[in-house]
């Protein structure tokens, strides 16, 4: 019995998996992003029209990618501020 968690991640057999290649990202009751590879980039790498956030704000702002270790699919992206940990944005009951 599987449960679709997001466009890119599903839960099968109590584990979160990449829907593209089946790579196991961790237990279903944890944040699946912790089982992905993380890549922090300047926000200008996410959109060429962006300006340096430092023009406006003191906190660092980065474009964060969560990459499937198995197939390099982008599982999710975030805009992360001040070094915050990955958001646990999807939590099955």
């Amino acid at each position: 019995m599987s449960r679709v968690l997001t466009e890119t991640v599903e839960i099968t057999g109590g584990e979160a998996r990449c829907r593209q290649c089946g790579h196991v990202l961790g237990a279903a009751d944890r944040n699946y992003k912790l089982g992905a590879l993380v890549r922090d980039l300047p926000v200008t790498e996410g959109n060429p029209t962006l300006r340096d956030p430092a023009i406006y704000a003191d906190d660092p702002v980065v474009f964060r990618q969560f990459v499937c270790p198995g197939c390099a699919t982008l599982l999710e992206t975030e805009i992360s501020v001040a070094g915050a940990p990955p958001q646990w944005d999807v939590r099955p009951a």
């Binding site: 992905a36 590879l37 060429p48 029209t49 599982l75």
Partner: protein, 661 residues
Amino acid sequence: MATAEQQISWDGVDYPYIPPRELRIHEGLALHGDADEHVDPITHEVLRHALWNVNAEHGNTIMKISGSPICAYGHDFNPAILDERGDFVFFGPFLQYLGAATGSAVKWTLEYRSENPGIHEGDVFLTNDPWVGSTHQSDVAIYAPVFYDGRLFCWVANSLHQWDMGGTAPGGFNPMAVDVFWESPCIPPVKIVEKGVMRRDIEEYYLRSSRVPKLVALDLRAGVTGCTIAVERILGLIRRYGAATVKASMRKLQDDSETAFVKRLDTIPDGTWTEEGWMEVSMPGDRGLYRNRVTLTKTGHTLTFSNKGSAPQQGTMNGVLAAWKGAVVAMLTSQMLYDQMFVIEGAMRHIEFDVEPGTISCATRPASVSGAPALILIQSIGLGGLVISKMLAESTDEALRSEVMSAMGVMAFPIVAIQGVDQRGAGYSSFLLDPVGSALSALPWRDGQDTGGWPWDLQSTMPNVEDNELFYPFLYLWRKELADSGGAGRFRGGNSAELAIVPHKTDAINLFTITSQMAVPAPGMFGGFPSSTNKYALHKGAKVQEQIGASGRMPTAQEELGGEIDWVPAKSFDRVPTPDDVFVCAWAAAAGYGDPIDREPWRVAEDVAAGRVTAAWAAKAYGVVLAADGSVSEAATEARRQSIREERLAGARAWAGEEEA
């Protein structure tokens, strides 16, 4: 000993009003709750559409009478029909976020005005008090009881953004407001019309603080007349079909909406979804970022929205509860009740709010709240849409999954408030509405519409350039869509646009800015890339008139402008462009959906050919390499995409830092 929570009075005085389950209505006010047990399907269909048309006529009446471009173009209003207890029957197809405020105003009035001064036939009430029933002081709610046979049968209501309600900042958006006392006055519910007659004393009190009292007086008549027409039409339906039948149809509308909503909830597993955005700059001179968090928890047939984890209230970034509640549920009409003709009551019966007061999204008096719709409110709509989307992504219903949306464009409205003496020598005070062009989200099956507006605002239109040049003392150099602004993705976020204006036939324009989303773009969804951001730039001493005279051509891009660039911050009050200067404003686009290297290459080629995406960005983000004739070079594209995968794996690492609790 009472806990802090028990000591809070949610009565609209210091803390926002939260209606109790059972309203405390004075016994002297009789409610007309009689309803037939059944209404036949044909009669119901006739009445359903007749009531819809009452509401539509209500809205059209406001537009015909109001002289305000905020109404005519921005459609910054919404009419509604509510039952005798203030629950929604029909909400109009205009600004969806006004819903919670309108209902709150009517319920507060039932509780606190039914004894003194009383609620009677022919009365019309008015309020702009954000802690009672308004999203901010400029949004004035006007609402009238409908009496039949001596009993209160239902309510008709509208909320319309006003030109200027007074206070220290022209137009009502005040970037310097330390607290609410710097802003337009708050007016708790008053009886503006008594037994069919406009009360002159209340009207003069209402208009006295405005810089443009005659225009506000016109909008007051627009709102009152809209209600008057709606009252007459509902009484006409009652006389034709009978009160109990009309009420039965109203009840059925609410019940049918609830049935549809619950049926959809049944396709979604229980869970919790969280999104956060960042409010930027609490006051002019500040450079801080402040967390705005929205959490949605589904438990059976109940959805609970929470703002916990959001920053404490401060500066000019705050909003009231009525604004936040309206914001987080605004997307439900388009995403989960799209077939219910804006009858939102069915959803509201299954929604709870778990709020932390004293935060930027549930501010208590005397916090500054005038900027809410441009700031915390719109961002919370966007965050609300994202948590709803992530919930719908888990639905077993394909139709619901197709309603999943990436982050919308303009999650903070870039206010350009302008004031001064116009080309005719008259004073003016307004703000530019061009960013209502916004940009629509990407969906799991299509790209977002470029400059397509917002999914929760179905009527607003960008003003014509020529009309703005007629209304205000400036000329446009350009207003154009921006290539690459929409987030890259398997489906691309809609592109946004940029304008550039030059003061004309005036000495200068007093200009305020209020916005956010300058430093922090909206995130992509499920691997999509982020949106562009809002932008203000003042080119001091650009002297475009001389440039045009020398070159014979108009500049069409910021790179072609001279002068000294001032990257105007999110909140400012001291920029005064003259005819020698150029002011540029761009607004944030929508974010992308899905991994960009999964996008079908022919779609990218079409985007490049149409000018929506540049060839350089096509190669960098999408991994699509085009030949000289614009066709897709398949071998080069496959090689580039493989290279991107390798770059990702080589540049990434396992997370070794803290975990979110």
